[in-house]
Amino acid sequence: MVDKDKSIEFILSQGFTRPPSFYVKVAKMHGILGWRFIFWDFSYSFIFLLVTLAGVVFLLRHAPVYEFPYSVAAGFSPILFLLITLFTEINERTCNLYQLKQTCRYTSRQVTALRSMYYSVVGVGFAVLVAAISTDGAAQFFRVLPLCLGGLFLCAAVELLVIRLSRSKFAIAATSAAWLAVNLSMPMTLGVRWEALLSGTPLLLAVAFPVAAAAAFIYQTNKMLMEENSHAIA
């Protein structure tokens, strides 16, 4: 009997010392850091970003987007996320405080993961905007949107994976460049066929794509926030 009580107590104590859940950890981190310190010292990055984005929107408005709404929307929608992550991550890694920050309770990596979550929210807003600009009418808009969101979350998941696994700042830039290269070269070489492939995606697949990509992104964020030893530099 006593043994049984003891074992129950043991199980309960194990339960209470379990590592905090994803949500609890995020909430606590945000509470301590606040908006100011999550985005600390990124003013230059944001200026670069605004300039680049202005260029992208200009391109979108003047390119013959109505001919290839699907190609354009899918290619452009993750751009905000990719650029913002690229700029802030390069800033983070070239700043000579990187190592010091990796020895704090909340490491650079973990703060990056937290930031990515907010970037993805902004990224969704941008993807909706891109879908709206490049399409004609509500029906087409809702058909294109899942593709845009899927592209966004796929890129976000891959980007986080690269940040997690690579120590090189160029790897991150390469990821963004690769996405752009694929999405520019496909419509350029395949043209209408690429457009047809994207627009002809079965509805079920078109909806499943963003859901799966978002799951992958959340998985990566969670991993980056929780994983031990992730703070190493070599």
Binding site: D41, N96, L97, Q99, C104, R105, Y106, T107, E228, I233
Partner: protein, 284 residues
């Protein structure tokens, strides 16, 4: 207690540190070794920035990387090349680091003001750091390392680039901060640790050479240090330690394996003598 158990670190084929076993309990530990000896490598392993190739580092019996954030909570670290935000004031910078250390804002504000007072930067705490001297920046660096009242304070060459006055000030500061904690600092400047370190750690050929009190380390070359104003009279092999001008003649301090007390006056070895003696092949 912090324990290194047969720690080896390799970078590819190059062995930076080999088979280091050390034990740290409260007190000041000075790592004294020439450039490239592996001081920063050891410090980076202690701060979980890099991992040992073999062996383990334990804090109270637990592997430090397994302790994860709980270990990072008890360390304070000043990197060798301490980068800082030129466009921010020390106070803002400290509040930022405090947040990363998981300290809530109210506590962080109190702690920041206290520490900036301790390091003597209260009157410039809201000035941008771009106008700070090297010594002031270094003091900000020490202050930020102390934010979480760490049980292990790790400083990598904290006195690099400081003028003599700042050095003295720094030594006093470390003495003040060293109560009830482990302080590990690296340097290649002997005078930095001669007076404040209870333990001196030395490496040679990437292995641990000594880990002892400054006095005991000096003892290792007792009866080997001499001073003379006529070095040419010494015919047995010797190693010149230092030379200085004294009333028109050159006073040479040298080390010799054979007893030269008939030709020169025996001298008490200093830590600097030991350093020059041990690293004689490496210092040209």
């Amino acid at each position: 207690m912090l324990l290194l158990d047969n720690v080896t670190k390799k970078f590819g084929k190059f062995t930076a540190l080999e088979d280091i076993s050390l034990e740290f309990s409260n007190g000041v530990y000075g790592m004294l070794a020439p450039n490239g000896a592996g001081k920063t490598t050891l410090i980076k392993m202690l701060t979980t920035l890099i991992f040992p190739t073999s062996g383990e580092i334990l804090w109270n019996g637990d592997e430090i990387t397994k302790l994860d954030a709980d270990y990072r909570d008890i360390i304070g670290y000043l990197p060798q090349d301490f980068g800082y935000y030129k466009n921010h004031s020390p106070r803002d910078f400290m509040l930022y680091i405090a947040a990363l250390k998981g300290i809530d804002q109210a506590t962080a504000k109190i702690k920041t003001d206290q520490l900036l007072e301790t390091v003597g930067l209260s009157d410039v705490k809201n000035k941008k750091m771009r106008k700070f001297s090297g010594g002031m920046v270094q003091r900000v660096g020490i202050a930020q390392a102390m934010l979480n009242n760490p049980q292990i304070l790790i400083l990598d060459e904290p006195t690099a680039g400081l003028d003599p006055k700042e050095r003295v000030r720094f030594r006093n500061l470390i003495s003040t901060l060293s109560k009830d904690r482990i302080v590990i600092l690296s340097t290649h400047i002997v005078s930095d640790i001669e007076t404040i370190a209870n333990h001196v750690i030395m490496f040679k050929n990437h292995k641990l050479l000594a880990n002892d009190s400054p006095l005991n380390i000096c003892e290792t070359i007792a009866d080997k240090v001499f001073e003379t104003n006529n070095i040419t009279a010494i015919k047995t092999p010797y190693l010149v330690l230092t030379e200085r001008q004294d009333g028109g003649e050159t006073l040479t301090r040298f080390a010799s394996e054979v007893d030269c007390s008939s030709l020169a006056s025996p001298a008490n070895p200093s830590l600097e003598d030991v350093f020059l003696y041990i690293y004689r092949d490496e210092t040209l």
